[in-house]
Structures are given as C-alpha cells and as structure tokens.
Symmetry: none
Subunit: 129 residues, 4 copies
DNA sequence: GTGGTCTAGACCACG
DNA sequence: GTGGTCTAGACCACG
C-alpha cells in the first residue's frame, strides 16, 4: 500500500502527505476510514515516528484527516477543497517549473497533456471516488 | 528582468536556475549571449555572490550556460535536451504531485489543461525561440 | 584512512572526491556503508564543513554516494558506471596530457605501462572489490 | 595547427603549454625552429597576449623554448628531460587520478593500455622525432 | 544529530 | 574584471 523513497529529495513527511492524498483520491482510502496510528505507520514504512507525526499534523491542518481523542486518526468525511487564491498561485508556479523542466527534457506538449489526463483520470478527477 | 522571491520555499539558487531557463525559453536570453557576472547579478537581486555562483555552477553542469575563463558566463549555443529516462521519471512525479495538489485545490482538468497550454506557448514549446 | 594535501594544486574538495572513489575501489569503503558526517570528516581532515559538503554533493551527483534525509550519507549500493561518451573523451585528454608530461620527464612506455597495471590492480580494476 | 578550447576547464595557458610540447614531440615543431611571437600567437588563437606570455614563460622555465633578445622565441635545441623525482611523483598522481576516473567510466585495462600505447607512438615516445 | 542554504568576506588564478 | 576555492559561521528543515 505504501511506498516511501528513502533517497528521494522530497522529504519523507511530504511523501507521506502526497501518498495519503493520492490514496484518498484513488478511492483506496475512503471517508471516515481509520488510518494506521503514528507508531504503526512509522513501523510499516521504517520511518521516524516524528516524521509520520509531522505529516499527520499537516494533513489535519489541511482538513484531509481528523484526530479523535483516544480513538485514533481517520480520513475526513468530506473532501475539503481549499479555494484559497494563494494556493492556486502556488500550484500555477509548480506547473510553470514543471513545464520549464519538461521542455528542457525534450518533452512535447501532447506528451505532457496525455500524462496530465492520465493522472487526472487515475485520481478520479476529484469526483470523490 | 529578474524577480526573486525572498519568502518563497524554493531556494534562491533554484529560483535563479528556473528563471534563467525561462528567459532562455522565452527568447529574452539568446544563445551565446553574455550573462551578468556573478557579482553583477548578486547585486541586482540582492543576494550573496556565492548563491549566484551555485546557480551558475548547476546551470553549467546542465549545459544551459558556459563559463569561459576570465571572460565571463554565456548562454550555451545549443539548447541541450537531456533524454535521460531518470529525468523524465522525475518530471512525471513532479506532475503527479501537482495534479494531487490541484484536485485538492478544486481545480478541474480543463483549467489545468488551459494553464499548461498557456505556459507551453509562452515558453515557445522548445521551438528555440 | 584519509590524507589530504594542503599544498597540492588539486583543490581539497577534488582530493576528497578522488579519495572516496579510491577507497571504494580498493574495497575499504563498501556499498551501503555509512560515511562520516560532513562535520566529522571536516574535523578529521581539518577542513571547512562547506568544503566537505561540496565534495559530497558532487559525489552524489555522480551516483557514488547517497544522502538520506537526517540519517547521513552512505556509499551507493551499486557502482554506477557512466558510459557517457563526453566523459570518455575527457579521460582520453587526461591521458594525453599525462603522456606528454611523462615523456618530458624521461619516462619510458614500459615504465608507465607497469605503473598503469599496478594502479589498476590496486583498485581492483572495477571488479567491485 | 593550433586548437584551443575556450570552454575547457583546463586553463588556456596550460593548453598552450601542452600543445607546444605535443607539437614538439610529434616533430611538427623542430629544435631551433622559430615560434610565432606572443602577439602573433595570441591573434591566431584569439587569446589575451598575457595568456600566451604566461605560457611562454613557463615553457622557458622548463627548458622547452628559448627567448633570444630582439630575435624572438625558438624551440630549444635539445629536449631537456627533467628527472626530478618530485616531478615523477606528480605524474604518478596524475595517472592514479586518471585510472580512478577510467574505472568509474567503465573502461577496462586493455582499453587504456591501447590508448596509452597509441598516444606514446603518436608522440614518438621521446625518440626525439 | 544530519545535511541544505545562505551570508560575509578573503585570496587566488586566469585573462 | 572574472569566476573558483575556501573559511567561518548562522539558521533551518528533517528525522
């Protein structure tokens, strides 16, 4: 279920965040579903509990998961979209950098477009799988 | 010509790298053109010369710019595309993360597609502007 | 284990790079083995941490070592050979310059051949010691 | 006759030194032959006269060329070998670094041996062509 | 504790 | 004037 890349430049806690969001979008994790505890997940992926904890805190801040005292951590019932304009701007910059790198890697627009569509479909396009 | 965001999470030297690639793709910087010296650019963007130097070194390693001893730094004549498969995989991951964030931000596929096309056109799509 | 020559014309960070590659080839450093931290090595060889850091960064770029976030730096598992033709050309030039200097120093072909063989054997000839 | 690589990491004055030694070893430049003046050579290779001057000074110091006041610069009559042990040690280090790089580039001993022999023969092996 | 980034500034080789 | 190397040291993210 869970693959983390030790050697990646992307911080492990960020990999966890993206992975959980991805699993949510793909319908593998469902609303209200219980997540592994910090200790369980850190054991599963061989990471420091602090690292998992940091990921969970950030996910909670974003409304993706919820902690219920004494009961554990759960996927949120609703998928919160954050229509924060600053957030949109950040994504646009992410896309701009990706496009620059892509052109330098010799990728064509149709190629990236097909990747984009493929990813969107794999993730259900937000249609709350 | 050159805007650097102090408060960004993206490191200054990385911002410089992307900016120079962007200006190259948009045709603002042309093949063989002389770049500002390390000291000049660091004065322009109010950064430390070492930071600019690090960006220039990485750009040289990527074949984007060239250093000629005692003469300064120049845009490379040819735009090197790097058909390195590892590099393509890294870009695909970049795109995957962007899509996850985009869906969570409530963006639709058509919206991102139009952003993508817009960016590609703005950057000449590698058609060596 | 680690000797750096202060007075050499070869930059300290380059000496570190060659030394680590040499120790790897001689089997002193083994795949997956933990390297001294930047701070430790800089203390060992009495150099600035930044200098060691620069060497480590270049070694990582070449695939010789790997950095794992917050865990330290490790020898890569596999020895990456880089069959980059530009790289081969650079080595041939290195050899050409060495031969010119050798002839001017009055060295004969058999002498250099025996040095070459000796070095190759000492380094295991890439047979992944 | 003379090729200098602007973009090489090897300093231009060092390229000139190696080139003149190479031409001498290959018999293109002969003992006692007149060399182009500093100004002529700097014009030929589009370099700064100071750069050529530095190369000539170093070549003279090594006994490869001779300056005769008011007459110009000439190849030395005899090929001076310098059996300086420090010099031999430096060449051995040069060879060691080359071998390390070669193994990392996936080159085999026979390959380098054949390169070595080839170069030696091309340069007359010091047999004062 | 670990490496990454950045500043400040020195010194030097090269051109 | 140009970039390359190095020192000294701060601050921070990550684990």
């Amino acid at each position: 279920m869970f693959q983390i890349d030790d050697k990646s430049n992307v911080a492990i806690y960020e990999q966890i965040i993206w992975k959980i969001k991805e699993l949510r979008l793909r319908g593998v994790l469902r609303p209200g579903e219980k997540l592994p505890s910090v200790r369980e997940l850190s054991a599963m992926i061989i990471a420091n509990p602090n690292t998992v904890s940091k990921a969970y805190q950030e996910l909670e801040r974003q409304g993706v998961i919820e902690t219920r005292q004494g009961k554990g951590t759960f996927m949120a019932e609703a998928m919160s979209n954050m229509p924060d304009p600053r957030y949109r701007a950040a994504i646009k910059e992410q896309l701009q950098r990706m496009v620059i790198d892509a052109i330098y890697a010799g990728l064509s627009l149709p190629e990236i477009q097909s990747w984009l569509q493929e990813e969107f479909e794999k993730l259900g396009g937000g249609k709350d799988a």
